[in-house]
């Protein structure tokens, strides 16, 4: 999928009201349930499993894309 689609999916699934960009900080819009939802979203769409205890190392949406791998995005 395109990066813009990934961002749109996060915004929709997690019901984030603010506009999101690649530089948006995760800690500004994620609570504990939101984190689990995002982990499930990434697992389902990219087959990448992130243990919840490792999630703190991710800072921005771009950092997630770096982990997933640019090659997964159009």
């Amino acid at each position: 999928m395109k990066k813009a689609e990934f961002i749109a999916k996060i915004k929709e699934d997690l019901e984030v009201e603010d506009e999101l960009t690649l530089d948006s900080r995760l800690d500004k819009f994620l609570d504990s349930l939101g984190t689990l939802a995002l982990i499930a979203l990434i697992d389902e769409n990219f087959g990448k499993s992130i243990p919840a205890e490792e999630f703190q190392k991710f800072t921005t949406i771009q950092s997630l894309i770096d982990y997933i791998g640019e090659e997964h995005f159009e």
Binding site: D13, S32, L36, A52
Partner: protein
């Protein structure tokens, strides 16, 4: 008098026997004289449980219990080898914490398949005349206080455990004529691999808050095994269709 609390000579089938509460229950039952039929998916962990049991006529079956067509073979084979079954403990269970917004039907289906349907299917099979101990039997379902209480992110898990509470009552009434008692145990948070995984997903303060909500601290698998033993023993002869809360005081608040 002390004999009524033991399980001498009883053949008891335990699901979820590869870890956590199921494993400890199997061990405790064996120490009190039961022959234990261990059922779980993971063969290696099942064998580890088997090696921890006290001597007895124990069996093990590596089986995904949601493959419902395979379940009767396990019961039939067990009865052929060690005799009819007088106890059943359903401890297999899966947990999922996800906001409602991203839940899917398949997630509910999977949780209900393991937590509820597989348990009821095994109860159905074991309660057949040809497999059931002639004088009496006792079935115990490991539910959860989450079957009574709610928690965000746990619509699927809470409802699956709640299903065990009500199913237990109906089953108890239906099977009373066959001298089968049916009860539920409702643990609070017990230190097992499943809850460790669940707690690790939470931020530190949320995790601590859950621990603080248990006045007696988090539980140990032995705490649940001891209660399950009581319900499977002759000491609970007059108890059926009920749910025993074992949660260190969590739900009292």
């Amino acid at each position: 008098m002390n004999k009524i609390f033991d399980l001498e000579g009883k053949n008891i089938l335990v699901t979820g026997a590869s870890s956590g509460i199921g494993r400890q229950c199997a061990i405790t039952f064996s120490k009190l004289g039961a022959n234990v039929i261990l059922v779980a998916r993971n063969r290696q962990r099942l064998e580890e449980t088997y090696n921890l049991l006290e001597k007895g006529n124990h069996l093990l079956f590596s089986q995904d219990i949601t493959e419902y067509d395979e379940l009767e073979k396990i019961v039939e084979s067990s009865v052929e080898k060690i005799g009819r079954i007088s106890g059943f403990l359903h401890s297999a269970g899966v947990e999922m914490t996800l906001p409602l917004r991203v839940m899917k039907p398949s997630y509910y289906e999977n949780m209900f398949a393991v937590n509820v349907i597989a348990g009821f299917e095994l109860a159905k099979i074991i309660s057949m005349k040809k497999y059931l101990n002639e004088s009496e039997a006792s079935f115990v379902f490991i539910a959860s206080v989450m079957g009574l209480l709610g928690q965000p992110g746990k619509v699927g898990y809470c409802s699956s455990k709640g299903a065990l509470l009500s199913g237990t009552k109906a089953m108890a009434l239906e099977l009373a004529a066959k001298n089968v008692r049916v009860n539920c145990v409702l643990p609070g948070v017990v230190e097992t691999p499943m809850t460790k995984k669940m707690l690790e997903k939470l931020p530190e303060d949320a995790m601590q808050s859950i621990k603080n909500m248990h006045p007696l601290g988090l539980g140990k698998p032995e705490d649940i095994a001891n209660v399950a033993t009581f319900l499977l023993s002759d000491a609970s002869r007059w108890i059926t269709g009920t749910s025993l809360i074992v949660d260190g005081g969590y739900s009292a608040g």
